[in-house]
């Protein structure tokens, strides 16, 4: 075999192994940690709110609203950061660049649905005439309005669940079946929540972002990664 042929084979092997590494890079413990954080968040939110209806947060006094928003943003931030750190560490331990092409593709495929979720969230949280806001911004005019939660605020959680599920599905196309199963679970639960349980947002968060993630993490650790070379 010629050196060039050997080099080309080596590159091919590296490409295949990097792509496959996504299988072992499924976030096992990060999912469990993220899920547990979500459940804790729901318990705290329920303790403050006294209701399972996530949309009722809009009726709380402003100070409590700010505290709860800060808590949820904090939980989301910690969940994302710990997932990135732990997965990057696992990738390095396996001898791969955490930003190898398959990982970048998986992350990029998540982006569109996260953008959709963000836009819908803004619209549901703040129901204003956005054209007037844009015109005022262009003219440099000050715009004063009091915050009015948008109509259908109770749909925010099911929408997040479905968008998140679609995002995972896209990212999971580069991996084994397990993340796609998780994705469908989010989409179905989100659809059922939207149709039947929209006023039980906290329960939906605890079930999906909490329990689904914990179960997924356990499956990854005890089934998919058991015996994998480390």
């Amino acid at each position: 075999m010629e050196p060039d042929d050997a080099l080309s084979r080596m590159r091919e092997i590296q490409r295949i192994m990097e792509r496959t590494t996504l299988c072992t890079l499924l976030p096992g413990s990060p999912s469990i940690i993220g899920g547990a954080l979500a459940v804790v968040g729901c318990i705290v939110n329920f303790a403050v709110l006294g209701s399972l209806d996530f949309a009722q947060n809009a009726a709380l006094p402003p100070r409590q609203q700010v505290a709860l928003v800060a808590m949820w943003v904090g939980i989301a931030g910690v969940a994302v950061i710990q997932a990135i750190v732990l997965m990057a560490r696992l990738a390095r331990r396996l001898g791969f660049d955490p930003l190898a092409r398959p990982m970048r593709l998986a992350l990029l495929s998540l982006t569109p649905t996260l953008v959709v979720a963000a836009v819908v969230t803004v619209k549901l949280l703040l129901d204003v005439d956005y054209l007037t806001v844009v015109r005022a911004a262009i003219r440099g005019e000050a715009l004063a309005f009091t915050w009015q939660p948008g109509r259908g605020l109770e749909y925010i959680v099911p929408v997040w669940m479905m968008c998140y599920g679609l995002g995972i599905y896209s990212a999971g196309l580069f991996s084994v079946r397990a993340p796609r199963v998780l994705a469908w679970a989010f989409v179905f639960a989100g659809a059922l929540g939207l149709l039947f349980l929209a006023d039980c947002g906290l329960l939906l968060i605890a079930l999906s972002f909490g329990l689904f993630h914990i179960v997924f993490g356990l499956v990854v650790i005890f089934k998919l990664q058991r015996g994998a070379p480390a």
Partner: protein, 105 residues
Amino acid sequence: MNGPVTPEDIDPIIHERVRLAIVSTLAVVAEMSFNELKQGLSLTDGNLSVHARTLEEAGYLEIEKTFRGRKPHTTMRLTPKGRKAFQRYLATLQRIIARGRKGAR
């Protein structure tokens, strides 16, 4: 292992491209189902079956057939012998590349 690389040093079982892809894939996971491997490597059922059988006969691959409900489910994993053979193959490639670099100087 620093001497010249002879054709006998190259494991013909692993050297074949499809089998090399199968082994490279299974080298970084504990196990993988037949369908996942087939989709991941864009192979047909027949192609994967034939090459997997060759690897199994060489003792490099373990194929486990079970049922999930009524559906048959096939799982594949590399054996320790298969992992060693893959590492030897990688080492051989590295030696060939190193030899080429020396020759180029």
